[in-house]
C-alpha cells in the first residue's frame, strides 16, 4: 500500500484505525527512498532494518490492544546532528563519520515514546553551518523540486526528505534559519520553537544559545502534531523551560479575525527578489481577507543581525567544536606524532572549509584584546535586537515577512562566496538572536516552478498563534498540497 502520500496526521489516524499497519507505512517510505534518494540524496543513513523492527514492534503492540502514542507508526527522519543510540550521528562531517552515540537525544526519546518510527538520518551542512547543505562533508543534497537547485540548509536533508515524501515528518535544527529556510526552499512547513521549548540534550551543539530543534512537515497540522511531541521540560537541559505545553493541534482552528500582523519595513527592502515579495504580499492579502489587520513596523537593529550572529554563533562554535580533537572519539589523523600535531592534523583533515572558517572567526572574536570589540559588543547588539521585537509585539501579534530573499538558488551558485551565502539568512537570523518562535510555510511558486516561502514570527512561547495564522492561510490556499515531481537527471 502506498501510504507515503498521506500526511502524518492522516497516517497516524489510519494506523490507529487499523486500515494501515506501521510496517506498511515504513515499507512505503523505504520504497520511496529506494526510488528517489539516489537523486535527492537526503539521507546519510537509512536504517531500513531498524525501522522495520520498530514498526513490527508497534504492530504487535497494537495487536495487543495497546495505544501507540500520538505518532504511532509514523516514519520520521532525523537530522544527522541529533544523537540516536546505536545509529551513526555524523553531523555530515568527516570528523564524526564513524561516531555512534551510546545515547538518544531527548527529542528522539520523545519520538520513540510517541510511537514514531525512526527511519534514518538526514544530510546537513557540516555541523549545521551553512544555508544550502553544500557544506556537507559527505555529499550534496538536491532540491526535489529541481535537482539542480539547493534544498536550503542546514536542515536540507530533512526538508528534502519530507518534500519528496520519503518521510512523513523530519526533525531539523535552527540556529540562524536552518529549519525555516530549507522549508521555504522545499515547499514545506518548518517551525523554529521558542528557545527553551525543546530540549537540546543530544543535539550536537553549533551555537548553544541559538540552537533549537523543530519540526519539518508537509502542512501545518503535521507540524503542530510533531511540535507537541517534541516540546516539554527536560532536566538534562538547564536552558529548557518548565512550562505547560499547549495542545497545538487542537488550538489550530481558531479564528484570526482582529489579529494584528506586523510587516517589518526592513524585511521588504533592497535584496528581496520581486517574485518572493509578490508572493508574500499576496499571502498577506489572503490573511487580511480572513480578518487579520496589518500594519507596518520597524525592527531597526535588524541590519546588524547578520554581523551580530556571525560573532555570537562562531564564538560559541569555536568552543563547542574544540572537543573534536582525535583524542577521545571520532576521526584521528594517521599523521599523529606529538600532541600538537595530532590536534592540528586531525582538525585540518577532519573539518571542512566553512567549519574551519567559523572556528577561526569565533576564536578571534573571543581572543584577549578583541573580546570587548567583538563578542561583548555583539552580545549588546543582541539585546537591542531582542528589544526591537519586544516593542513590536506590543503593537502586533505576529510579524509576517519573507523567509528567504530569493527562490531556491542553483547548486554551486554561492559556494565560493560565503558572504553572499550568509545573506540568504538575513530574514531568519534575528529571530534566533531574540530567542523567539517562528515558522515558514509555502506561499507560492516562482515562474520556474520553484517553491516560495513566507515567515511568521511570534511572541515567546506563543507558537499556538503562529500555527493558527498559518493554518488559516493553508485553509485558503493549496500550495502546501503540491508535490514535487522528482525527475531523473
Amino acid at each position: 500500500m502506498e501510504t507515503h502520500s498521506l500526511s502524518a496526521v492522516e497516517l497516524a489516524e489510519c494506523i490507529r484505525k487499523r486500515s494501515v499497519s506501521a510496517l506498511e507505512a515504513v515499507e512505503s517510505v523505504l520504497k520511496r527512498i529506494e526510488q528517489l534518494d539516489a537523486q535527492v540524496r537526503a539521507f546519510v543513513t537509512v536504517d531500513a532494518d531498524g525501522a522495520r523492527a520498530q514498526a513490527r514492534a508497534l504492530d504487535e503492540k497494537r495487536a495487543r490492544g495497546e495505544a501507540l502514542g500520538l505518532l504511532g507508526g509514523v516514519p520520521v527522519a532525523v537530522k544527522d546532528n541529533i544523537c540516536t543510540r546505536g545509529l551513526p550521528t555524523t553531523c555530515s562531517s568527516k570528523i564524526l563519520q564513524n561516531f555512534v552515540p551510546p545515547f538518544d537525544a531527548t527529542v528522539v526519546e520523545r519520538l520513540r515514546a510517541a510511537g514514531a518510527v525512526i527511519l534514518g538520518k538526514t544530510n546537513l551542512d557540516e555541523f549545521a553551518m551553512g544555508s544550502s547543505t553544500e557544506n556537507s562533508g559527505l555529499f550534496v543534497t538536491r532540491n526535489p523540486w529541481a535537482l539542480d537547485r539547493a534544498p536550503g540548509g542546514s536542515s536540507g536533508g530533512s526538508a528534502a526528505a519530507v518534500s519528496a515524501r520519503m518521510a512523513s515528518l523530519a526533525l531539523g535544527s535552527d540556529t540562524g534559519g536552518s529549519i525555516r529556510q530549507p522549508a521555504s526552499f522545499c515547499g514545506i512547513v518548518g517551525v523554529k520553537p521558542t528557545y527553551g521549548r525543546v530540549s537540546r540534550y543530544g543535539l550536537v551543539a553549533f551555537a548553544s544559545s541559538l540552537d533549537q530543534i523543530g519540526p519539518l512537515a508537509r502542512d501545518v497540522p503535521d507540524a503542530a502534531l510533531l511540535l507537541r511531541v517534541l516540546c516539554g521540560h527536560d532536566p538534562q537541559d538547564s536552558t529548557s523551560a518548565d512550562r505547560a505545553v499547549p495542545d497545538f493541534l487542537r488550538d489550530l482552528d481558531g479564528p484570526i479575525r482582529g489579529l494584528r500582523l506586523g510587516l517589518p519595513r526592513e524585511f521588504f527592502g533592497e535584496g528581496l527578489s520581486r517574485e518572493v515579495e509578490d508572493a508574500v504580499r499576496q499571502a498577506i492579502e489572503t490573511l487580511r481577507s480572513a480578518g487579520a489587520e496589518t500594519l507596518e513596523i520597524s525592527l531597526a537593529h535588524s541590519e546588524y543581525a547578520v554581523a551580530t550572529y556571525y560573532l555570537v554563533a562562531t564564538a560559541e562554535a569555536s568552543s563547542n567544536l574544540a572537543r573534536y580533537d582525535g583524542v577521545h572519539y571520532g576521526y584521528r589523523s594517521a599523521e599523529a606524532g606529538d600532541l600538537y600535531r595530532l590536534y592540528a592534523a586531525t582538525r585540518r583533515e577532519g573539518f571542512g572549509a566553512e567549519v574551519k572558517r567559523r572556528i577561526m572567526l569565533g576564536t578571534y572574536a573571543l581572543s584577549s584584546g578583541y573580546y570587548d570589540a567583538y563578542y561583548l559588543k555583539a552580545s549588546r547588539v543582541r539585546t537591542l535586537i531582542r528589544r526591537d521585537f519586544e516593542k513590536a509585539f506590543q503593537e502586533v501579534d505576529v510579524v509576517v515577512c519573507p523567509t528567504a530573499p530569493t527562490p531556491p538558488f542553483k547548486l554551486g551558485e554561492k559556494v565560493d562566496n560565503p558572504l553572499e551565502m550568509y545573506l540568504s539568512d538575513i530574514y531568519t537570523i534575528s529571530l534566533n538572536l531574540a530567542g523567539l518562535p517562528g515558522l515558514s510555510l509555502p506561499c507560492g511558486f516562482s515562474s520556474e516552478g520553484l517553491p516560495l516561502g513566507m515567515q511568521m514570527l511570534g511572541r515567546a512561547w506563543d507558537e499556538s498563534t503562529l500555527l493558527r495564522v498559518a493554518q488559516a492561510y493553508q485553509r485558503r490556499t493549496d500550495f502546501h498540497r503540491r508535490e514535487p515531481k522528482v525527475s531523473l537527471l
Binding site: C91, P102, Y201, S208, S209, T239, S318, H328
Partner: protein
Amino acid sequence: MTDYEVVIGLELHAQLATRTKLFCGCSTAFGAPPNSQTCPVCLGMPGVLPMLNRAAFDHVVRTALALHCRIDPETAMDRKNYYYPDLPKNYQISQNARPIGVDGWFDMESGGSIKRVRILNVHLEEDAGKLIHPEDTGAATSRVDLNRAGTPLVEIVTGPDLRSVEEAKAYMESMRQFLVALGVSDCKMQEGSLRFEASISLRPFGQEKLGPRVEIKNVNSVRFVLGALECEIRRQTELLNRGESVPQQTVLYDVRHDETRPMRSKEHAEDYRYFPEPDLVPLHLSPERLEAIRATIPELPLARKQRFMQCLGLSSYDAGILVEDPAIAGYFEACAALHADAKAVSNLITNEVLRELKERRLTIDAFPVRPEGLADLLRRMDAGEVSKTVARDVLTEMVATGRGAGPIIEAKGLRQIGDEAVLRALVLQAMQQNPKAVSEVRAGKSKARGALVGPVMRATQGKADPGLINRLIQELLNRPSSGE
C-alpha cells in the same frame, strides 16, 4: 638569609564533598578502575549538556560565606578554553566574570599571633581527568583516566599577603582544617583532593610596589610548595643581589633536583578566551537561601580553639591538636560535657585516644569507646580506682573488647591498691633494700625517690596508688631512725 621581603599568594583547589560529579550523576569516589566512573556527559561526547550539582554550588556558597566574601545574588559559569587530553571538551566550565564570592578574608594563626589573609575570589569549577604517561607505566602510549573529569572543585585565591614560607605553610594547614571543619571537602592530599599553586615576588623591605610575580606550577603537595618557594627565594635573591631583575614568568618545580625552571613560553602563553557558559543559566541566590546556607556553617577551627583555651583552660598546644579534626574536637566536647575536668579529658584524648586511633587506623566515629565510656574511665581515675598507667591498659582493653572500664578492672583485678597497710610494708621493704636511695632522698635529691617507688609498683603490677606511695615514703622518712 634573604635581604628582601617575601610576598606570596596562594591558589587552592579543593575537591568538594559531593557524592556525584558537578555536571552528571557519576560517582566521585577515589580509586576506581580507570574510566569506570564516566558517562557521555563527563566524557564530553557530542550533544551532551551539563546539569549543575546544587550540593556543590551550595558548598562553594558556604565556603564564600565562611570566608566573609561579598556574594553576588546572581552568579554564572564561564568557559575557560584550552586544549589538553585530560580535558574532554577542551574547555573547562569555571567562573571568571561572576564568581560566587569576592573580597573576603581568612584569619589564621601563625607564629603565635593571628594573621588576616585577604581572599580575592572563591569560585566553583570542574576538575580535569588524569594523564598516565609511559614513563610511569612502561606502556607504549600515554593513557587518559577520566574518572576525575568533572569532579567539583572550589578554587580559593588569596591576595599577595603571605610574608614568609612559614606563613604559607600555616595558611595551607589552617585552610585544610577550615575546609574539613566546614564540611565542604575531605582535603585528602594523597588523593589529590587538595592542591595548591603559589606565586611569589621579592621586594626591598619598606618598598610598597610589588616585585615581578613568578607563578609556580606543578606543585601539588604542601611539601613541594614549600620546597619550590624556598628555591624561588634563593634564586630571586641571587638575581637581585647581582643587580639583575626578576622576569615575570611561570616556573615549574623540579622535585628531583629541587630547583625551579622557567616554562617554555609556548607552555603558558595561554589565552583562555573566557565567555559565559551558554549551556547553564545564571544561578540565582535568594536572600532566604543564602541565610539557610549560612545557618549550616559550624564553629570553625580557630574560634573553637580559642574557646577551648579560654573557656576550658586548655593549652594552645592541646587545643590545637583537638581542633585539627572536627570529629575529634566534637568527641572531646562530648566527653568534657560528661566530665568536669576538661584538662584531664584533653590529656587522655591527646595522649591515649589519638594513639589508639593511629595504631588501629580508626576514625573517631568508628572508635568503640564512646564519650560515656571514656568519662566513666576518667571518673574511676579521679576516684583513685586506677592509676594513669593502668588506665592506659584499661583503655586499650576497652577498645579491643568493646567492654566498659568497670568490668575490665574487676575481671583483671586492676583495681588500684589503696590498702595502706599492704603498701606500707612494701615501701618499708624497698627502703631497707636501697639505703643509698634513702639517704639521697633525705639529702634532697627527689629524683632518687623513683628508686623507691619502682619496686613497689613492680610488686603490685602497677596497681599501687602512686599518691599513697609517696605519702608513705615521706612518712617513713620523717620517722626518726625508723628500724635502722
